[in-house]
């Protein structure tokens, strides 16, 4: 299915992703903010390959499944250990756990982003395009 990747140079801080996520789930699981006037950056769940949230979840409620971490609310005890464990602060806890489920495969944040700062991609495709872009920049510099 791939994961959500961010190109921070493209984000214009419009918060469309956040609003779309809130519309879809009732509570946004992605949050956008500015760093001074320098950049706007969305923060969200990375579906980590060795996910700390799944490592601490003792009920099997959060577990690795292929290249994503799935969540089963029926098994969750609301202990909050996943909230403590996530390196990105991507889990919120009130009377339920709020965490990205990739919208079942078509994430609305990615669909909504007007600048394609967020993309659902395979890691190989992403590193490939990053490298070719860097090569492009280098080539432009060599030419002048």
């Amino acid at each position: 299915m791939g994961k959500i990747y961010l190109d921070p140079e493209r984000c214009i801080g419009c918060r469309s992703c956040e609003v779309a996520c809130e519309r879809e789930h009732g509570h946004p699981r992605i949050s956008v903010d500015k760093v001074k006037d320098l950049a706007a950056v969305p923060v969200y769940c990375h579906q980590c390959d060795t996910a700390p949230c799944a490592a601490v979840c003792y009920t099997g409620s959060l577990r690795l499944d292929g290249d994503m971490v799935v969540f089963d609310p029926d098994l969750c005890t609301l202990c909050g250990l996943c909230f403590v464990a996530c390196p990105f602060g991507a889990i919120e806890l009130d009377s339920v756990i709020h965490r990205c489920d990739l919208c079942g495969g078509t994430p609305v944040c990615v669909m909504t982003c007007p600048t394609e700062a967020l993309q659902l991609e395979d890691i190989d495709a992403i590193t490939g395009s990053t490298r070719s872009r860097a090569a492009g920049v280098l080539a432009a510099r060599v030419r002048v």
């Binding site: 923060v43 202990c79 909050g80 920049v137």
Partner: protein, 126 residues
């Protein structure tokens, strides 16, 4: 039910099951009070506790456990008990777990800062 105070990490999972378990938080201390109990919930409590702190048995009086909260090393807000942090740290394989010193809000801010730096470096290059 009985609670083992050496094992309890103060996570509050039990309080979501039983109304006889109450929580309060004040001045960097979380208190959990286990009141005398409807024993029909004991099985569920044993299963739900991540620390194996609950066992069957009768406690006649109520007991209150207190936990020091960990304060975020950036903003100073308490965000989890120190025992919860130790428990989590023992379960994650990574050797560098420096993010556990930050509250989730400051972890998000940290992410933003590092991405912003990346952008500035790129802009400097072109």
């Amino acid at each position: 039910m009985k609670v083992d105070e050496r094992r309890c990490i103060g996570c509050r999972a039990c309080s979501a099951i039983s109304r006889s378990i109450s929580i309060s938080e004040d001045a960097g201390i979380r208190s959990i009070t286990f009141h005398s109990h409807d024993e029909s919930l004991t099985e569920r409590l044993i299963e739900a506790c991540p620390a194996g702190a609950i066992s069957s048995g009768i406690t006649a009086e109520s007991i209150t456990l207190t936990f020091r909260m960990k304060r975020c090393s950036v903003c100073g807000e308490p965000f989890a008990t120190e025992r919860e942090i130790e428990h989590v740290a023992s379960l994650i394989p990574e050797t560098h777990k420096n993010w556990l010193d930050l509250c989730p809000e400051c972890r998000r801010a940290e992410q933003r800062r590092s991405h912003a730096w990346h952008c500035i470096r790129i802009r400097g290059r072109v």
